[in-house]
Symmetry: none
Subunit: 401 residues, 2 copies
C-alpha cells in the first residue's frame, strides 16, 4: 500500500472568539477522511517544544532533529538546487539596505528584486583565506551563500539582527574552533559591503528611486553532511511536491526526489489543482508522496484568521477533493501550530488524521485541534509517525519473533 | 493485594467490514470487568514498533527488550524445561524435509512426529570443535538445539529460510567474532543431514509413506545470561500458567515459577477451565499470576476472523467467568495485535483493561480496540505497566519523600 503524506504548514491554531480557522472552515472533504479515519494530535518534536519548519519536517520523516539538524542554510541551499559537499557551510541571505553607520534601513532592500541576481553574482567565486565563496539568488531579495574549504563550522552567530533600525551584527564564534569561520564571514560581509556600495547596479537602483541593496544579511548557517537516505532507511521510494525551497531542501537532504510543479509557489496563491495532478502523475513511480502546502502558515504569520480559514477551504475544495478517493494510505497534519493571534510558531500540537480502509475508525467527525485530541491515536510524537506508516504500508520490521 | 495478569495473545485487530473480533464477540464477563474498570490501549514496546511475542512479553513484565532480549531460542529452551548456563546458544529447530539439492519439500516433515524424538536423540551429545551439542524434541516436528562451550555468540543468521521450495541457508556471522559459531553450526547441520539421511527411522518413515525428517532447520539463536529476577526486582512472587513453550520460557527467564496445567496446550483447544482452576489452586501461594492464552493469536495467523471471535467468546465463558469475582487486581490485555486480514503481527496497540475495586472507573463499556482508546488510561507503553500494577499491589516505591 502506498502512502500520501500531506502537510498543511502551520495549520494548528489556538481559539480566537471560540474558534480556530479549522473549526470555522467549511471543509467537507477533509472531514470525510476524518470521519472515516483515525485521528489524534501530533507533537512534531515533543510536548512544549516550539518547532521550526526545518526541525519539524526532519522529525516528521523520522529523523531525530536533535541528531540530524545542522542549521537551516543547508536546506535552503539544497532546496534552491545547489550541490553541497561534506563540510560546506550554507547561509540564507537577504540583500538588505544599511546606512553609513551600518544601521538597517530595510531588511529586504524595499522587496525590489531589480538586478539583484547580477549583484549577487558579483561576489560569486570570491576567495577569502582559501575559502571559496558561492552566492546564488533565489527569490525576491533572497539568496544563498556557500563557504567551501577546510576547517569550517556552523557554530557561529548571524550577521542579520532580524530587525530594521538595528545595526548589523558581527559574526561571532559559538565554540573555540569557530574563530576561523567567523573571521571569514566578517571579511566576506565587509568586502561585499564595499563592492555593493560602489556597484553600478546600486547606483542605477538609486537613480530609479529604489533602495540600494548593499549588505549581505547572512543567517541560519548550516553545515552539510550526507546522511542515510529515506530509501536506505525505510526501503521505500519517496518524492516531494512542494513550492517552498526549505521543504524541497529537507526532502533532498533525506534523498527524496523533487517533483517540479509549475504554479506551486509556496504562497497562498499556489496552484492546488496542479499539485493534485502531480500526485496522480507520480503515483505509479513512488511508494510515498509528500505534499507540502505553505499558505496556511503564511496567512498565520500575517495574523489573518479569515485568510487562513479560506486557505483551508481552498485546500479542501481544490486538493483534498481530488485525492480523497485515491487507493492509498492518507495522512493529513501540520508541521507545527502557528496561531494567527501570535503570528509565530507555537508548541500546541497539530491535529492529525490517518485514513486507511482497515484503520480503527474513531468517533471524531470534524478535523480540528479540539476534536482530534479525543481521537483514537491520542497524542503522538512526530518521530513515531513513520514507523506507523511503514507498518500500514506492509514495510515494517518486527522486533523479536 | 494480589494481581492476575491475563494475556490474550495477538488479540488486537484492525477493522474488517467495520468490526474487529473483539467488537463482534459476545463477551459479557470481559465487558463486565471493562465497565467496572479503567481502560486504555497499550503499545507493548513503543508506538509503531511491531512486537515479536518474545520481546513483547519482556516489555510487559517491565524488562526493556532492547536491553534484555538475546534471541528467541533461549526462551524456547527454557520453556521446554532445559537448563542453560551463561554463554549457551539455544536454537528453535524444525525437523524438515529437503531433497538432494537441499531444497525444502516440507518445513515440518509432514507435521508427522513419528519417532522424531529418537531421531533428534541421535545427534544429542555430539561434539564439534570442542562445542557440546544437545538436542531435545518438544512438540510435533519441533525441538531445541543447544551449543555449549567457549567463544560462542548468537550474532549469526538462521539455517531455516522460512519457506518451502527454497534452498536451506548457510549460517553466516553477523559480527567478526561470530565466525567460529557460524562454522560450528554449519558443521552441525551437515553432519546431522548425513546422519538423518541414512537413519533407519527415516527409512521406516518412508516405508510408511511419511516424509523423511532429514534436516535441522535451526532458527532464532539466543544466548543465555542470568538476569535479575522478577522477585528480586519487584519483591513479589510470580507464577506462570501457559501452554506455549515460549511464554513459559520468558517466565522462567525472569525467574517465575511455571505451573504445569494438564490440558493447557497453547492451541485454540486448550482447556480453559483447567487454567482457571490452576489460578484458584495457586492463588494463595503467589502474589502475581500470569496467565497466557494463545488461541486468539493462532486464529489470527490462520486469517480466521470467526475462529478468533469464537476463541474470545470461549475465553469469556470458560475462563473470565470463573475468575471475574476473585478478590485481586485483574489485568486483561494482549502482547501485540495480529490483524486477521494481515495474518501477521502489527504495531497497532492492544486494548487493556485494569480492574481493581478502587480504580478510577471510566466510561468504556465494551472491551475492544476502538472504545478502549477513549479510556481513562489513554495510551500506555508496556514498560510502564508493572510499575502501575506494583503500586496497586501496595508494593511500589516512592521516588523522593
Amino acid at each position: 500500500m502506498k502512502a500520501l503524506f500531506i502537510i498543511l504548514d502551520g495549520v494548528g491554531d489556538r481559539l480566537w472568539e471560540g474558534k480556530t480557522p479549522l473549526i470555522a472552515a467549511n471543509k467537507k472533504n477533509i472531514d470525510y477522511l476524518c470521519e472515516n479515519g483515525i485521528n489524534g494530535v501530533l507533537h512534531t518534536i515533543d510536548r512544549g517544544i516550539i518547532p521550526g519548519s526545518d526541525t519539524s519536517h526532519l522529525a516528521l520523516f523520522g529523523y531525530d532533529p536533535y541528531r540530524y539538524y545542522r542549521g537551516r542554510g543547508t536546506f535552503e541551499a539544497l532546496g534552491a538546487g545547489l550541490s553541497l559537499e561534506k563540510g560546506d557551510i550554507a547561509f540564507r541571505v537577504n540583500l538588505g539596505t544599511v546606512d553609513n553607520n551600518l544601521v538597517i534601513q530595510d531588511r529586504r532592500a524595499g522587496r525590489d528584486a531589480y538586478r539583484l541576481k547580477e549583484l549577487l553574482e558579483s561576489i560569486d567565486g570570491m576567495e577569502i583565506d582559501s575559502i571559496k565563496i558561492s552566492a546564488r539568488h533565489t527569490t525576491e531579495h533572497r539568496g544563498v551563500v556557500i563557504l567551501k574549504g577546510e576547517g569550517l563550522t556552523n557554530k557561529i552567530t548571524d550577521i542579520d539582527p532580524h530587525k530594521t533600525g538595528a545595526k548589523v551584527l558581527r559574526c561571532k564564534p559559538l565554540e573555540k574552533k569557530a574563530d576561523f569561520t567567523a573571521s571569514v564571514v566578517n571579511k566576506l560581509v565587509d568586502k561585499a559591503y564595499k563592492i555593493f556600495s560602489e556597484h553600478k547596479i546600486n547606483k542605477e537602483r538609486e537613480k530609479k528611486g529604489k533602495l540600494p541593496a548593499n549588505y549581505l544579511l547572512l543567517r541560519g548557517a548550516g553545515i552539510y553532511e550526507k546522511i542515510r537516505s529515506f530509501e536506505e532507511r525505510y526501503n521505500i521510494k519517496g518524492c516531494c511536491i512542494a513550492g517552498g525551497a526549505l521543504y524541497k531542501g529537507v526532502a533532498r537532504y533525506i534523498g527524496m526526489d523533487i517533483i517540479d510543479v509549475k504554479g506551486a509557489t509556496g504562497t497562498v496563491n499556489t496552484d492546488l489543482k496542479a499539485k493534485a495532478k502531480a500526485v496522480f502523475d507520480n503515483f505509479d513511480s513512488y511508494d510515498f508522496i509528500f505534499v507540502h502546502i505553505k499558505g496556511t502558515d503564511s496567512a498565520s504569520h500575517d495574523g489573518d484568521f479569515d485568510l487562513k480559514k479560506k486557505m483551508i477551504e481552498r485546500i479542501d475544495s481544490k486538493f483534498i477533493s481530488e485525492i480523497k478517493n485515491l487507493d492509498c494510505i492518507k495522512l493529513l497534519t501540520g508541521d507545527h501550530s502557528t496561531p494567527v493571534r501570535l503570528a509565530r510558531h507555537s508548541s500546541d500540537p497539530v491535529p492529525l488524521l490517518f485514513w486507511s480502509k482497515d484503520v480503527r475508525k474513531d468517533n471524531v467527525k470534524n478535523f480540528n485541534e479540539v476534536s482530534c485530541a479525543e481521537g483514537g491515536l491520542g497524542h503522538l510524537k512526530g518521530k513515531d509517525l513513520m514507523r506507523i506508516i511503514l507498518d500500514y504500508m506492509n514495510k515494517g520490521e518486527m522486533f523479536g519473533e
